[in-house]
Symmetry: none
Subunit: 413 residues, 2 copies
């Protein structure tokens, strides 16, 4: 099956916004074996939108459109799809109920704009938007599909992953495709490639993509086969060969987040954790508390940015900081022990480093980070060099700290 | 002058790479008043590339093409431009000299691949690539232009900014474009639209785009005029009319982040801040510490997830929590006062709420958040309902908390 992705929005044509939506949809289509042939971006004007619809509809089987579904005057995708498919807007009960639910949750009243948003093309299927008022609009005609999605990324991704991809997968034909994504951290793309060795022997006809992100490299293995059971068996074999080579770095599969893995391990073992953060500035706590139920094992985090707060909250002696500097093995360990003692948790975790761009010294460059760890048996600290971009340093340090806990809990050295 | 941007590359169509190149070129074109009408991405195959060339060449005055100029087998842009413009490749001295210089600088020998890279379309102009071997290829025909650029971002941006934009600016005619972006928070797109009222009266010929994000809605006003000074005056008038209507919600312009604005206000006034976070789980500290230099005004954040930690770290009495619940006006205020007292900062800020999906009660639904604020004169708490997605609740609560500080510091009620 072939697809085209059409993105609507003046903000893209003036370069103010980078088009992450089309990349997201392309990745999701590719994962289920749909080939994206072309991506097009046009302005918030009717004629270019209709031109793009016409061209795409003639060329491919699936057309995904994003943008232009909000309540403001520049949002004209609804008008365009109605004109293109010869239908008109009617008020739809399922859309109304969703909007009522959203407004209630935020304690907001019904408004004329809400009423406007219940209007939906008569001949289209509603793809529910759990997070916003603009539902996805799905047309099905002569074995082809066109879906119009809101441009707000988190709403678009929710509709695509939770509604549209499952719906579309049932309508696919041809060889079956099976995929697994293994999430790694703490190793670069090129080192990981070296570790895996001879790819032909490893993959035996499967495909492997290296997908880098600040949290680590994802490995996506894909098998195509005419037989579903054979495809699954081949995929399992590839996965186990990859895991054999890179076990230390693989923390989970698919959409597992590292903080969920760590949370599950803590819960299983009946352990609790507290965190003392300097250079990560609250990001470890932010990651941990993104997991619902984290209050069961996460007690507290202290973002001790000043030396004074390191002394007051964590009992790190001023003399220790004076002797070794705030960014040192000694202070990282003392912070981890200090937060563990203060909170009475099983594990204490800490970070101290130089996120940059300022604060570097000859011996201590931007990107230098110490991660401290303490439990009832031991305390230790690990030194990392994490580059020179402030946000990346924070993200990499927070990920490395959580991965250190994972490896300790799993007894992986 | 109108333009189209064509990006060539399979890695984009499978969603592996986000297309930052087209956004960069679009921004540069917009800055000099060239209107980008369409962006297209196609695969590394000759037919789709030639189709895209034909369509764009018929529609616009300037066609920018990126990708497919490297030395590997899938790079076929040179072949495509030669076929499209009816010319052939010849070895060009200026390209040869540039490659020689690059190889010498890296101490590398001349190779057959280097020889191949000196081949350049006979009828095209060389746009020098200071950083790589693939020069930009510029065609000029019947008052229209097509430029083919390498896909490596830093090479592409160097050619565009140093060579092509200066070259093109000399050939421009037509109206100039001026823009401003105002960042708002704490108000939905539809309410903001209502607040601005009659858009025709407000804009008087300018265009306005509403760009929503979790942190708030950005408003982008655009003016086109034949005269640059008139365009700037008209834009200023539009901006001041928008500010008049929505002053309370506008925290900055362009790419200003709320945490930078708050940081600047604290620095100007010589004030310091500490934070006690429950439902935001460290996100306020994470935002604040994304700003380099935040150690000058940010002392600490305590993520007090457990009731025990609220008592120990913030001095919130267990009786207060028992009487009103952890998510209450009373506890939010006590947390803000508590962190301020413990840290000795000018301002104490706090959050307590139900991020969900679990933890709700009849009177306290998911999304209920109290923000507490304390300074030397007063303490208060504000109640918000922020929807039912855990991550969004955290982001909205953290943004609302920072915006409360901004409004207090600016004395906006």
């Amino acid at each position: 099956m072939k697809a085209e992705i059409i993105t609507i929005g003046d903000e893209l044509l003036i370069g103010q916004v980078v088009n992450t939506n089309q990349a997201y949809i392309a990745e999701k289509f590719t994962e289920i074996g749909i080939s994206v042939e072309r991506m097009v971006t046009v302005s918030d004007d009717l004629d270019p939108i209709l031109d793009a619809f016409r061209e795409a509809w003639n060329r491919v089987d699936v057309v995904a459109v994003t943008g232009g579904l909000g309540p403001t005057h520049d949002d004209i995708t609804k008008k365009a799809v109605c004109q293109f498919f010869g239908t008109s807007l009617v008020s739809r009960q399922e859309v109304r109920e969703n909007i009522e639910r959203l407004l209630q949750a935020r304690n907001l009243p019904w408004s004329p704009a809400s009423e406007e948003q219940t209007m939906f093309p008569a001949s289209a299927t509603v793809m529910l938007n759990r997070l916003g008022s603009a539902a996805g609009i799905l047309f099905e005609k002569e074995g082809k599909y066109l879906i119009a999605l809101p441009g707000v990324p988190y709403e678009m991704t929710a509709i695509v992953s939770e509604e549209f991809i499952p719906w579309l997968t049932k309508r696919l034909h041809g060889p079956v495709l099976r995929q697994v994504t293994l999430r790694t951290t703490g190793i670069s793309e090129s080192k990981l490639s070296g570790l895996l060795g001879d790819l032909d022997a490893l993959l035996q006809g499967a495909r492997l993509a290296f997908l880098p992100s600040p949290a680590g490299v994802r490995l996506r293995a894909t098998v195509l086969d005419t037989d579903a059971i054979v495809a699954e068996e081949r995929l399992k074999a590839v996965e186990s060969r990859i895991r054999e080579k890179a076990a230390r770095y693989i923390f989970g599969s698919s959409t597992n987040q590292l903080e969920e893995i760590v949370g599950n391990l803590l819960t299983e073992k009946g352990l609790t954790i507290s965190v003392a953060e300097s250079c990560t500035g609250g990001l470890i706590a932010d990651y941990l508390t993104d997991v619902s139920g984290s209050s069961g094992y996460f007690d507290r985090s202290v973002v001790a940015y000043s030396n004074k707060s390191k002394a007051e909250l964590l009992g790190v002696p001023a003399e220790l900081i004076a002797a070794y500097g705030a960014v040192s093995r000694e202070v990282a360990e003392a912070m981890a022990r200090g937060i563990r003692a203060a909170s009475g948790t099983s594990i204490g975790l800490s970070t101290t480093g130089i996120a940059g761009p300022t604060g570097a010294a000859a011996e201590k460059p931007v990107g230098l980070v110490w991660i401290g760890y303490a439990d009832e048996h031991l305390s230790l600290a690990v030194k990392l060099n994490l580059g020179n971009d402030r946000r990346r340093v924070k993200e990499r340090a927070a990920t490395a700290a959580l991965d250190l806990v994972r490896r300790k809990l799993m007894k992986i050295e």
